[in-house]
Symmetry: none
Subunit: 214 residues, 4 copies
DNA sequence: CATGAATGAGAGTTCATTCAT
DNA sequence: TATGAATGAACTCTCATTCAT
């Protein structure tokens, strides 16, 4: 029984590694060619895997794509949690810290952030199971709630103007996603130095000043 | 001679109407199904036209799509110009006016704004003539420059903090595009009342407070 | 009645001119783009005519194409007739004269000779009326018969070896068509000086020596 | 290792057979319907294969077509080489042998000879990779050079009149291609016994007499 | 578990041809 | 007579997905 169990665990591990290997390959290819231009074949070649094998690990292309985004959302959720739980920082300092956190998020996976927005703009992904959709939505909601709690604290402490915390969280998200998208789009026209960090810093700076209680 | 001229004008008019008819149909279908899921056939059915006829008015699917976006950018450019030239308003009041202007932009064409961002995230549109691409980019740049000039004035008058005006324009744009995208994405999950106006108002409000000179 | 007749004649004349105008345009376009790559639209633009109008003068694209070839065959037939009737030349001299005549044929319409062979290789032309087909075949047969008669004379006079005259005519035709096709194909690979005249001269020279009675 | 190797070989073999199967089917269909009238679908039905599968073996329709012609050229090249190397024959006898060789060429693949000429007259084949085009041209050039060397020998031995060997090779080619094309075209009008052998024999006979040194 | 080969279904696009005027 | 606009019918080619092994 112990043996069976161990074997089971080993199998699980191997499966997870394969999944990760595919996800990583997919991430790279999506980055280079964009979502719709990427074929399953492309991903398979990058992952050194047969198309048929890919379908052992993911239900379909959309499912693979969604899994990619789940990865990011999980990472993001943790980071936000971490920031929220940080005891040593005042609410304002947490906003300040958001600058780096968000940029870190982008650095963690510049490609997938784009993908996430693609998911939002959601063109397609008709073959996504409701289960996966729910997962995605719940994680996203959780992220926002966590951010919201940071603002809630700030408001309670009288440091921030009194607006609905979730609305403020929305705006942070809007700034982040808008900035990533916009900078990427500018780079497509004219690839050059990466202004994202600066833009993000400035935007959040202004946001921080804007929500400071009078 | 007068007759020939009149006929000419009538023909031109008819052509423009056909183009508009197609653009309108396309707008609706792209909205419902997203860009890549939309087939030329779909658009033609909506426009009550044969596929071949569509190709008399647009070079290809990408071109049609880009034309849709040009429409919006032109409208936007005019609106921004108008606001900039408005003599009776102080710089701060112009920012205030932006709230309505941006929402108006969205109302003018809620679907196409989405499309515009799809264009940004873009993924595809490989069949776009460089001419069209240039048109798009130049119009977008013009919009930003105009916005930038509003901030320039405000800074010169000592009403706004001294940051690069174009960077500020970028942030306005980021807020707008991020908000539209985000609200749309929320609506996809849970269609209900439209919070865009509120979100946009709040975001710009905060932005306005944030750039006020100390 | 005289008036009606005159009007009739004028109408006829005008129609013929229009036909010629279209045929000339078609000739040029087919030359530049090849048969299958040429669209009816192309021809119409070259002829400064609407597509619909073209169909008033020709039943369809194939018919237009066949008419082009009829033109050549008629010209060719006359030339062959002329050579045959030439009293002052011995049979051998007529073969010698064929060199120039054939090259002249090519010069008269370098493009259409190609077209003629395309017609032979006949890929398509499924929409050709039997009437037109018959016309084409009869004219071609007539050309060969005329050529044949030249050989017949030569054989009767004991100047040529005794082979079936039509077979000899076939071979002349084969040499001519083969040469035009081959030189054209060489020019496609490597466009440069035109060797057709030389090749044709040499080939017919050898042919002439080859049929000389021992 | 031996096993892997054997499997590799078997796979290779199977792939080659599939290619051949498609080429054969294509040959038949092109023969019946001509190049442009033949659809990929037609070929696939003949080959009992899905259209998508065809594209696993050939880049596109033009490529398939060109491959068909390469087959013939390769066969032809070998035959010419063989004749050239033949030690026991005098130059004149080699010309005599050409009769059979050329007819054999036609028998090897009566359809594809036509195709080859279509390729020459070519009209189209715009989607052909430069690589394939080069292959075709080089093989064709090689064939001619080989033929040329036969004439060169004959001239050196004083058996043939002194003309440029390649020009003579051209003429042989012209006779062959012209004859095939012409006979085919006659058969289209009036399908009956096959006169190609006779015509070819006579033409080359005359050619042989024509180049004999005085 | 893994694969190479195969495919169904459809996409975008083209073009000879014909109305309505 | 002449036309500009429209179209039906195909065509080539692609791709996510699944067998047979």
């Amino acid at each position: 029984m112990g043996i069976a169990e161990r074997k089971e665990r080993e199998k699980d591990l191997q499966q997870k590694m394969r999944r990760k290997q595919i996800l990583d390959a997919a991430k790279r290819v999506f980055h280079n060619k964009g979502f719709s231009a990427t074929t399953v074949e492309d991903i398979c070649q990058e992952a050194e895997l047969s198309p048929a094998a890919l379908y052992l690990y993911f239900k379909n292309k959309d499912d693979l794509y969604a899994s990619l985004n789940l990865q990011l959302l999980e990472y993001m959720s943790e980071k936000f949690e971490g920031l929220y739980r940080e005891k040593g920082l005042k609410a304002e300092e947490k906003i300040e810290a958001l600058k780096d956190l968000l940029y870190d998020l982008f650095s963690f996976d510049p490609l997938i952030v784009i993908n996430l927005f693609h998911l939002q703009a959601s063109d397609g992904l008709t073959n996504l199971s409701t289960e996966r959709t729910t997962q995605l939505n719940e994680l996203a909601a959780k992220c926002l709630r966590t951010l919201g709690k940071i603002f809630e604290d700030g408001i309670a402490e009288g440091r921030f103007i009194d607006r609905h915390p979730i609305a403020l969280a929305d705006i942070i998200w809007i700034i982040f996603s808008g900035a990533v998208l916009w900078e990427k789009s500018k780079q497509m026209i004219n690839p050059r130095k990466d202004y994202l960090k600066q833009t993000l810093d400035l935007a959040i700076d202004i946001f921080g000043r804007g929500i400071k209680a009078a």
